[in-house]
Symmetry: C2
Subunit: 489 residues, 2 copies
């Protein structure tokens, strides 16, 4: 609280780091690349988990838990998967330490594993190795299973929430009798993610399919939701993969169909992670700190009494009590902070920094007038309201804040979106960030050239975009539709 936070306009990246630390969301641990998710950050993640988990269950999924460890040999079974994941990972090679008279505690060389184990970077291999035992006939399908877990990818340059060695996520892994069902599931979960992003995170997203070079290692098709951050960089917020029969073939998962014929099972996988915390922060927050959509705020309303002495405070306590009850009766989470060791000014700054959507201040004059002062975090506007029907008003206000945050983010994205036809213009425009709709000839070579020359990648081929054909901005070759380029997190 003592030091001032860096402003977004000064250094966006530093602003982000400052905010994550000062709003008590997370911090770097002393363990390389790993973060500590602090209580305020974790409480927001719990709200995300609860919402997503409810949506998964409403679409027929159940949760399960698979081992943290994956034998190295499992990765070798799916050729493209091993290239994508098994290289930079945490490897367990021993299962015991011992005391050394000189060096203290050391690894016991006698306790070497026959086969090293990888800490899961993603669980397709161990799950499909397990599904082999679960699927015999078409009656066993579909399997609609999700797992909430920690995963590890050995990242060299880490950023809190956006890229860390260990992170938390959910990974859905489904098994189907037909290609059509698996594709349908892939799209269903993409829609679930898009709905969650828009309705809960208040973050507009574009649904699309990845190009071959951006595809998940082992997938036939990777679908994604892409969002635009305040600094004009794109962020992939969730992916849903159609895996074809790749993992079923690698792990011999066959089923007998109604005609008694054996076939390989069809697969999907889909995931979102604590990276969404980064997306949330960079979509809405400002130079005062975190801004939270009410639906993801651990506490939606904070009430701060402004009292000169104990008698006034006691009077305000009584004045506020029925308001608190009325708000809670509507399912609104409320904190009444009458801790007299901290000054109101300190509290205001603290709750602003931490993103509480609505702050209500109550002083002696409010009691005389039957009013309260209501401040909304998104616009920082204050107004004095009659206390009558306060709960109704606050309920509407929370809805208005949720809607406003989405509209603001949408307007920001629209303002940051351009269609560009020439590569010269593209090179100029990309310096200002944003989503650029441009024609591309469909080849990995052109995609790579653009990436090398401009640091922009194809975020996705949008599913609901303009399908007008054209010519590639780089090569002039035919293009089926515009794709979205951006520099990305």
């Amino acid at each position: 609280m003592s030091e001032v936070m860096t402003k977004r306009a000064t250094d966006y990246s530093q602003w982000y780091n400052d905010l994550v630390l000062k709003a008590d969301l997370a911090e770097h641990s002393e363990v390389r690349g790993c973060m500590v998710i602090k209580p305020h950050g974790y409480a927001i993640w719990e709200k995300m988990q609860a919402a997503l988990d409810g949506m998964f269950k409403a679409t027929g999924h159940v949760n399960a838990y698979f081992p943290l460890f994956i034998p190295v040999s499992y990765f070798a079974k799916e050729a493209s998967h091993v290239e994508g994941f098994a290289k930079e990972c945490a490897v367990v090679t021993h299962y015991r330490l011992k005391t050394d008279p000189v060096k203290g505690i050391v690894v016991d060389p006698e306790a070497k594993l026959e086969e090293p184990l990888i800490i899961r970077p993603t669980s397709e291999t161990i799950i499909w190795n397990t599904y082999r035992g679960w699927v015999k006939s078409y009656r066993d399908l579909p399997l609609l299973i999700n797992q909430w877990a920690n995963v590890v990818r050995w990242e060299m340059r880490t950023r809190l929430f956006l890229r860390t060695a260990e992170f938390l996520w959910q990974e859905g892994h489904t098994a189907h009798a037909t290609k059509e069902e698996a594709v349908e599931e892939t799209m269903r979960m993409l829609d679930v993610y898009a709905t969650f992003a828009e309705e809960w995170l208040a973050m507009p997203v574009i649904k699309g399919v990845k190009t071959q070079s951006e595809r998940f290692a082992g997938a036939e098709d990777t679908y994604c939701i892409e969002a635009l951050m305040q600094d004009g960089k794109a962020l992939q917020a969730g992916t849903s993969h159609f895996l074809g029969q790749n993992f079923a073939k690698a792990f011999d998962v066959l089923f007998t169909d109604k005609e008694n014929k054996q076939s390989h099972v069809w697969a999907t996988s889909w995931g979102v992670s604590t990276r969404l915390m980064g997306a949330l922060i960079m979509t809405h927050s400002d130079d005062h700190g975190l801004v939270l959509p009410p639906k993801l705020a651990p506490v939606q309303v904070v009430i701060v009494p402004i009292a000169k002495n104990g008698d006034q405070l006691a009077a305000i306590d009584s004045y506020v009590a029925p308001m608190v009850s009325a708000l809670r009766a509507k399912g609104i989470t409320v904190k009444y902070d009458n801790d007299d060791k901290k000054k109101p000014g300190w509290k205001f700054a603290e709750y602003e920094l931490k993103g509480y959507p609505v702050r209500i201040a109550v002083g002696p004059r409010d009691m005389e007038n039957g009013t309260v002062e209501v401040a909304r975090r998104d616009t920082l506007e204050k107004e004095t309201l009659q206390a009558v029907d306060l709960a109704d008003k606050v309920e509407h206000l929370l809805q208005a804040i949720q809607a406003n945050l989405y509209q603001k983010a949408l307007a920001m994205r629209e303002a940051g979106t351009r269609a560009v036809d020439s590569y010269a213009e593209f090179k100029e425009v990309i310096e200002g960030g944003g989503f650029i709709y441009a024609h591309w000839d469909g080849t990995p070579e052109t995609e790579e050239k653009v990436k090398q020359e401009t640091k922009a990648t194809i975020r996705c081929i949008p599913l609901n975009g303009d399908r007008t054909p054209g010519v590639c901005m780089v090569t002039g070759k035919p293009s089926a539709q515009r794709v979205i380029f951006a520099r990305a997190y």
Copy 2:
């Protein structure tokens, strides 16, 4: 379903393994010592998590998340802790694999970590290393933090849920300004665990304190809840540790008190794990399969139609629909299983095996008579009830089942509890299992002798037991009160 389950009387241990597998709770993975928690098992664990998490939050705790990896050097800082935990553990030594032309995928010797990392067996060290940065003054205390996480202890002989290399748990880690507050917290959480065991698991427990040799490595005092399983073996179901200033001293966590004096912080930690699944199974289940207390059953009521043809089924669908709505309106979870590919007899066996507390069958005659047939899983009794006010009746039945399971388990424990005064009698009685209250001279030597000679350990010194002094059954030396001996899981 095809093979018959082993009976408890034949081989309790085999019955347990059969049940866990056949009721689809969990299975061994191909990864040594690690289990796969299957959807039905995980759904029960989720119910436990939700109940416990609510109780933790109601007592002022918040959740956070700390890294999976712990540097070896952290363990060396607390002498007794390293002895207890750092020896049998998973050690990460490398962070990259590479492709070898002959051997395929191998560990890259170039990518060796400077300091090996341990997969957390428990998180005191990494958490107290983090708390050092969070605690400056008495105003920062108490820290009341819990973590839901996976942990790894390299176990050689594993049993599903009871002892596995990787398991899921929660670990609370609190920091306090005074010894009194820390002791109070230790007892508060012990009470939370006891309440959870009794009210949710329907499992009576004895609260006690561990002897020095059974204490958590690094604790000043370990409190526990102990339960008695059907086979007469004890199971430690949860522990709450008063850690004194041990970890604060090891990790230099000091705070400035109101008098501006620096002191080390006082600590507690407390945890329960997926081991509770084993406790649940071994407390209530029978030769027909799993028996679940209604409060932890993922689905409390299953309704099975008994129809000869599609018309009858359609009629039953309509007859049942308002019952389903009425039950759900009371917050009761209901599954109406009108899948006509499976026969009612198969369904009955399946739901019995999986522990659904109440099964309702509806046939054509029921529709004529305005009745349903209600079967309760705990007693296997069936009765025909008028469908009028069915939801009320079922609500009461679920409460009755919950209460009955507790009473049955309590009666079983009481029947399995003996007070013994001579070591000769002890040696005889212990062969029959159960809790044995006996006098002990308070020395580790006598405790060890009993353990070597009878395989019985002191489960705890009960907190609420008879405090009459006596003489040690082994040495004849004075004893302050009886302690509880048992053979244990």
